[in-house]
């Protein structure tokens, strides 16, 4: 047992921090520091900088451009990148389709897609959820029927994040409607978003942003060689994908960044005639969040360290703890930022306001905080709702 970071790990953290400080474009940094999310171009620009440094592959093997980090180093990188704050790596590219292709893909699929995924030359999206298949994913209805050397895909996906930016979509479709069990008739397909028959419709979320979409498939022809793994074995791929890299899901660095931003802002706003930072209730609330962030940090290192030792393999049920506690913290820290902003959390920072105010930092930070507070209500819903995570714990850990 050694409960401390090694000197190499401490040096690695310094290296990552210095690289981000020296290479993160100033305009992206300034925008994110106010609490804004990165735009598509920001994410692409930053991921390419990281990729040029050999860092975008995160957990990929070195032969496919991965940095060859230990799981602990990976966590350190993610935490530093979030705390900077810098745009996060495209999770669809790096922690979903990349590992899936490495595990199940053909040589041709790997050659074709992995380098482009690392460099964000292809922007991927995930076609899993459907109107009738949310937490109960295996009830999905989108069908893929074979026709010569193609599948013909018909159906509808929903909550498809960034589908409007995407070049490619990995999706689950039913290839055998008569399978004995619902899970056994599903295949995992790679679909070029430019294929005729695909319609993307925006869903505007409660933060006012366009992140989510509905995607309709009408007689969309997908070559058979765009299937990953065997036909009707797509559920195994999906389980691998959902179980893989759960450790990053806590997004602890993001929570820390939000708390730090709230502390900064609390120096600049008043409460009963003194800066909010002097308010006892505010300080207690921050202290309580610090306690929870520390507990999550250590639990996270326990999970990744065990994962590293086991050489990957089955996902640790403890990763459900990371998902639940991590997203609760994300929500609590964005809620804190909104409460600090006070009345300045209510205006929508849009063009009309920007035109009236000469760069008002408080107003912009307040508005951005509200944006991320509203958007992150989704955190306990996506990636398997927190209630589903508790079901997983119930089965996997408690054996009920």
């Amino acid at each position: 047992m050694d409960l401390h970071f090694t000197t190499e790990e401490i040096a690695f953290r310094q290296e990552v921090r210095a690289f981000i400080r020296d290479n993160l474009p100033a305009d992206i940094h300034a925008k994110m520091k106010l609490g804004n999310g990165p735009g598509k171009e920001d994410t692409v620009r930053w991921q390419r900088i990281l990729n040029a440094n050999g860092w975008a592959g995160l957990s990929w093997p070195k032969e496919w451009g991965g940095p060859g980090w230990t799981a602990i180093q990976k966590m350190i990188f993610l935490e530093e990148n979030q705390m900077a704050p810098a745009p996060e790596l495209s999770s669809f590219n790096i922690t979903m389709i990349g590992p899936v292709l490495l595990q199940f893909g053909t040589e041709a699929q790997k050659q074709r897609f992995l380098p482009r995924a690392a460099n964000l030359d292809d922007w991927w999206c995930q076609g899993f959820s459907e109107p009738g298949a949310g937490s109960d994913l295996a009830s999905l209805k989108t069908a893929a029927k074979q026709d010569g050397d193609h599948y013909v895909v018909n159906g509808q996906k929903i909550w498809t994040s960034t589908a409007h930016h995407a070049d490619w979509c990995f999706l689950l479709a039913r290839t055998n409607p008569n399978a004995r069990k619902r899970q056994e008739g599903i295949s995992f397909l790679l679909v070029d978003m430019k294929t005729p028959g695909i319609t993307v419709r925006p869903i505007i979320s409660i933060d006012g942003s366009h992140h989510l979409n509905e995607v309709f498939f009408d007689d969309v022809r997908v070559p058979l060689n765009m299937r990953v793994h065997e036909e009707n074995k797509g559920w195994d791929v999906a389980k691998f994908l959902l179980g893989n890299e759960r450790t990053g899901i806590a997004r602890l660095g993001k929570s820390r960044e939000r708390v730090n931003a709230s502390i900064d802002l609390a120096h600049k706003v008043n409460m009963n005639g003194q800066p909010l930072i002097a308010d006892a209730a505010f300080r207690q609330r921050v202290a309580q969040l610090q306690v929870e962030m520390k507990a999550l940090e250590i639990t996270q290192y326990r999970v990744v360290s065990a994962h590293d030792k086991a050489g990957g393999g089955r996902p640790d049920p403890l990763s459900s703890v990371l998902k639940v506690k991590g997203t609760e913290l994300l929500q609590a820290t964005t809620e804190l930022a909104v409460d600090v902003a006070g009345p300045m959390a209510t205006p929508v920072w849009a063009e009309e306001l920007a035109a009236m105010n000469e760069s008002d930092e408080l107003l912009e930070a307040g508005s951005a905080s509200t944006g991320s507070y509203l958007f992150l209500r989704a955190a306990s819903i996506y990636g398997g709702t927190n209630e589903i995570q508790k079901n997983i714990l119930t089965k996997a850990v408690l054996g009920l």
């Binding site: 047992m1 207690q284 119930t394």
Partner: protein, 376 residues
């Protein structure tokens, strides 16, 4: 970072667990409680035979040569069965005091005696007016003219204060109440003239005592006037050890509750088949694991030489473990329903131990306040 115990540590856990499995069922524990001392002298001897009473002492003093990690592992096992014997008071608190502040001669005399089970210690620091403030010491010590020292004052809720043959007592040798300087630690023979002890049960079924000192002779432990740093070390060792004990207690409560949910049938089904019960169990499990992480934080902080960081991390750990323990305890009783309210059933005993631990060395509210004060 590596969270797996070493082979030696695994062996230690195995042998302690085996001893407790054979000797510490809830029914056996009841018989120990019925002894006059409120614990079992035979168990104490068995701990000594196994080397546990010298666990954190150097081998030259008859010790096992272990550190904070070994104490964590043992305390976790103790927490699972609610060990009654004064291990915390004697080995962890008393042992830390002597290891940290004792002269070579004091260590040579006292540590082997503790390791062999011949000497029990207690840490007599808290005073009625002090609550959790470590500097609030009004007990005084003055020179007696013959080169020795005598103490006057009273100490309260001294854990296992009745059982101990030697007390480690804090007293003012200079300065005023709340001054950081001027506190000195003394070794006091519990049987000496001028020492009076009044014992009582605490809610966790262990024993504590109020100690009054009237012209009681004491031997200086450590540097005169510089006792606060040692007291902090003792308290930190205690926080780490009781954090681990809480983890063990949480494990036991969660296992008991899970088992109960599988066997208790209502509306024709085991209550564990109801999702509302399942999700509470999942929440209890999460609290246990977050608490375990915080107990690890406390353990890894024991030897941290950076004062500010160490104090900060202990505060985080104390709050986190305390809150986890409280949540699991309350939930465990709730999930058991009526039976959880009974003295006859084990769960309420774990509840009470966690409740007492929460208040040893400062409670979550106290440490949350400390953390809040640091924010800048």
């Amino acid at each position: 970072m590596d969270f797996d115990p070493s082979d030696d540590q695994r062996l230690l856990v195995e042998s302690v667990s085996r001893l407790l499995a054979d000797n510490y069922s809830f029914a056996q524990r009841k018989t120990y409680l019925a002894r006059p001392a409120g614990y079992s002298a035979e168990m104490w001897s068995k701990f000594a035979e196994l080397g546990l009473l010298g666990l954190p002492f150097a081998e030259e003093y008859g010790g096992f040569g272990g550190g904070a990690q070994e104490v964590m592992l043992v305390m976790q096992a103790f927490g699972r069965v609610l060990v009654l014997e004064p291990f915390l008071a004697t080995v962890v608190l008393g042992g830390t005091a002597i290891r940290t502040a004792g002269s070579a001669a004091q260590q040579q005399t006292l540590l082997p005696a503790v390791a062999e089970g011949r000497l029990k210690l207690a840490f007599a620091h808290g005073e009625r007016q002090a609550r959790y403030d470590l500097t609030d010491v009004v007990t005084t010590a003055k020179r007696n003219g013959g080169g020795g020292w005598v103490l006057d004052g009273s100490k309260t809720v001294v854990s296992h204060g009745e059982a101990a043959e030697r007390l480690i007592v804090s007293a003012r040798t200079s300065g005023d109440r709340y001054d950081e300087d001027g506190i000195t630690l003394f070794l006091v023979d519990a049987a000496a003239q001028g020492v009076a002890r009044r014992g009582y049960a605490t809610r966790d079924e262990t024993r504590a005592a109020d100690v009054s000192l009237s012209n009681a002779p004491g031997e200086v432990l450590g540097e005169i006037g510089q006792g606060l740093a040692i007291i902090e070390k003792i308290v930190e060792a205690g926080i780490a050890a009781t954090a681990a004990e809480t983890v063990g207690a949480m494990e036991a409560m969660n296992e008991m509750t899970l088992e109960y949910s599988k066997t208790r049938v209502q509306f024709g089904q085991p209550i564990g088949s109801y999702q509302v019960v399942q999700h509470r169990l999942a929440d209890m499990f999460m609290a246990q694991e977050q608490g375990r992480s915080m107990a690890m934080l406390a353990t890894m902080s024991v030897d941290n030489a950076d004062d500010a960081e160490r104090r900060h991390d202990f505060a985080l750990a104390k709050v986190g473990v305390g809150q986890s323990g409280r949540y699991v305890s309350q939930s465990a009783v709730q999930m058991h329903g009526g039976i959880g309210m009974t003295e006859e059933y084990a769960v309420g005993h774990y509840f009470r131990r966690c409740m007492v631990i929460e208040r040893l060395f400062g409670d979550p509210a106290y440490y949350l306040q400390r953390l809040a004060n640091e924010i800048a």
